[in-house]
């Protein structure tokens, strides 16, 4: 990459402005990508990264600004226009048709001779592209049969098959295990070696530091900084993203582990597809400790949480709270035993979007005095309690009567957490508490979790965010395909030790594969 100074930029976005009713999504944003370069686009949710990329991909028309490809001004009017100009997009939520094969997904939209869709030439060329970039996937497999990592390879192949020279990767590592991330990076380096330009979107700072040549940070629709890994630190990048200094590492004081609160023994739970999603699961959580359950999502975490909370029948095994087995659990009976639940899908299970903030804050306790008296809702008790919660938990909302769906992801999560953390529960099951939440809100939610731990709650923290799990947990339990792969104490918890377990390598084998 010694000649980057002389190379003509393959992409120059200059002064891109995009307005939506009431929102300035992009405010005069510049972005330049050279061939053979990884240019990272960094920013919080809602900072304007997606909007900028949708402009590039022809999904939105910019209100102002110009786009140049290889120095030539262009107007990109549609995704097919973008594809024809050599732009490929690897979407965060894969744009794949699950009921079609890999080859069919690749061929989609390309047409065929005489209107026939003949997969033979597709397969052949696909094999060549796969080989070149180390993206191995069976072309005749249906997408629904593939694991997440393979799906991503199919998604990338789709772009490479179309001879994309400029690839946009929207949070490609979000769904991968650490070893899969390494594999992806090998592929990406092969692409840059072929002089392809990459726009890499991520908010995992250590990945950004590892992979990037250039970094552009967006905040509130504007470029808040342009830098390089050599000139920055994770802290300086986080500050550019958030707009104030952020504490990325947290020293958690050791606490005395108390009595056993939640005990799971020999638990088996059936998943949605009739599979055994949780297998012979044993786990205990004590008062005053956070047990982190790490693993790529889809390895039984959701089913486990559902089972604890009475949302999914248990096939065998036992769940006990304070030594008492829970029989025939229902969400309400489990709550009465002192368990609270912050579910993974905050907009599906955690909160009701069309309900007001106040209504969501009271979803658990609405039927009890003082909020309900003789079957009638007591408005004054409700509003005084809810106003207090909104203030204490720093929920940014115009008022408590605002529909919850109008809040940002971080604030919706604060509503859920405020509700669950104030119902005097002694056992907290907390799933993906900061997924899709901006750094500032995540920091705040972490503080609250630790506060609950200090207060003696037994906390089961289910998360795929390794940094979060390592930072907060007293012990980390790694789950793979519904089984416990291993347990790591706080002192030994590193991304590497946990990452290996997540991908199925146990302690003994780890040293063998270390080199």
């Amino acid at each position: 990459m010694t000649d980057t100074d002389r190379a003509v930029p393959m992409l120059q976005m200059e002064g891109i402005t995009k307005r939506f009713p009431g929102v300035l999504a992009n405010d005069s944003v510049d972005l330049t990508v050279l061939p053979g370069q990884v240019h990272t686009l960094l920013g919080e949710n809602g900072a304007g990264k997606s909007t900028l990329m949708k402009v590039l991909y022809g999904l939105y028309r910019p209100d102002e600004g110009t786009i140049r490809l290889d120095g030539e001004p262009v107007s990109i009017t549609s995704p097919s226009d973008a594809i024809n100009r050599g732009i490929g997009m690897i979407h965060q939520h894969f744009m794949l048709v699950p009921t079609l094969t890999v080859a069919e997904n690749v061929a989609l939209g390309l047409g065929g001779r005489a209107g026939l869709s003949d997969m033979r030439p597709v397969r052949q060329r696909l094999a060549e592209v796969s080989e070149r970039y180390g993206l191995h996937v069976n072309p005749d497999a249906y997408i629904w049969q593939l694991a997440v990592g393979e799906r991503q390879r199919a998604e990338i192949l789709k772009a490479l098959y179309r001879d994309a020279r400029l690839l946009v990767l929207d949070e490609p590592t979000a769904v991968l295990t650490p070893p899969e991330v390494e594999e992806l990076f090998v592929t990406l380096r092969q692409m840059t070696a072929d002089d392809k330009g990459l726009v890499f979107i991520s908010h995992k700072l250590h990945e950004v530091m590892e992979l990037s040549d250039e970094i552009t940070v967006l905040r509130d629709g504007r470029v808040s900084g342009q830098t390089r890994p050599s000139e920055s630190t994770r802290e300086s990048l986080a500050e550019l993203m958030v707009g104030r200094p952020v504490e990325l590492t947290r020293n958690v004081a050791a606490t005395e582990r108390g009595e056993q609160r939640l005990a799971i023994t020999g638990l088996n739970v059936i998943g949605d597809r009739g599979n055994t999603a949780v297998k012979n699961f044993d786990l205990a959580v004590h008062s005053g400790e956070i047990v982190g359950l790490a693993g790529v999502s889809g390895n039984g975490q959701r089913e486990l949480a559902d089972a604890i909370f009475g949302l999914r029948p248990i096939r065998s095994g036992q769940i006990a709270i304070d030594g008492e087995p829970v029989t025939a659990p229902t969400p309400r009976s489990v709550r009465q035993r002192g368990v609270a639940y912050v579910p993974e899908e905050r907009m599906v299970e955690g909160a009701i979007g069309d309900f007001t903030v106040a209504e969501n804050l009271l979803l658990v306790d609405y039927h009890q005095p003082p909020y309900t008296r003789r079957g009638l809702l007591n408005r004054s008790a409700i509003s005084s309690w809810c106003n207090r919660l909104v203030e204490n938990y720093r929920v940014k909302t115009p008022d408590i009567e605002t529909p919850t769906k109008n809040l940002s992801g971080g604030n919706i999560q604060k509503v859920v957490i405020a509700r669950e953390f104030t119902c005097d529960a002694e056992v907290l099951v907390v799933a993906q508490p900061t997924r899709g939440v901006d750094i500032g809100a995540a920091e705040y939610i972490h503080e609250r979790l630790l506060e609950q731990r200090e207060a003696g709650a037994a906390i089961l923290l289910i998360s795929e965010d390794l940094d979060e799990v390592i930072q907060l947990s007293d012990r980390v339990v790694v789950v793979l395909e519904g089984q416990i792969m291993g347990e790591v104490d706080r002192a030994d918890a590193t991304p590497r030790s946990i990452g290996l377990l997540m991908s199925g390598v146990r302690d003994g084998e780890a040293s063998a594969s270390a080199d």
Partner: protein, 310 residues
Amino acid sequence: MSEFFTVSVLVATLAGGIRLATPFLLAALGETLGQRSGVLNLGVEGVMLIGAFAAYYTALETGSTVAGIAVAIGIGAVMGLIYAFLTVVMHAEQGISGIGIFLFGLGFTDLLFQKQVGTPLPIPGVGKAPIPILSDIPHLGEIFFDHNPLVYLAFLLVPIMWFVVNKTTFGLNVRAIGQTPEAADTLGVSVNLTRTFTIVIANCFAGLAGAALALEVGIFQQNLTAGQGFIAIALVYFGAWRMPWVMSGALLFGVVSSTVLQWKTLGIVSGPSSSLLAMAPAILTILVLVLVSRRVSAPAALTRPFDRAG
């Protein structure tokens, strides 16, 4: 009962089953294509009625059954454009729009019939066209190869439609947009244009199905289709959105209907019990659907309008 189990009666029953299956097979093939692209059209029944009346009236006025069929298909295309405008362009709720189309077809054809024709005059209908040689095969010839051309056309369309869905780029687009329209869109496939096509084709099929019915019986009357359009929709689910299975369902349904007719004709059943028996096909449909619904999954984007900005 023994009089039913004679060769000639059984042959006539099976041949009748194929004949009776033709209208709802045609309608179901079109509806299958539409649903594969993510569009549910509950208005099939209404479009069939309009097609039936159009074919009947044209044949009555011009004496040409071919003209009748052409007009029925043309009117079907117009109805398809209307439905596409409602559901694809305006994003109207598909279930309700379809019911609207049905009620419109039911009322409109009755009105036109009262105003324009009044007394049910018979029309020539389409004559049988036995296939040379094949129709001479004992029994089998009578069952399969001694029908009117529309019957052959309907069954010929099964492999054709299968080929279109599974082996052409258009079919690949259809399968993709019925499942994950966003993915197709990002690859430059026009979701709404493709859906408009499938809707128009589906409605042409429904119009043709109506024509097949009217020309078969040689008459028009109020509510001539008597639920056949809804049976066609049920057959799509029965057939799990696969053309060959849809055909199997149509044949099963046709043969059961034909058997019931034979039993009535032969006097095996009569009076109230024959009316009860007439419900057999409908009950069969419900039973099969209850059983089938457990194992199949519909196109994921069925009834979901597509809008990029959304």
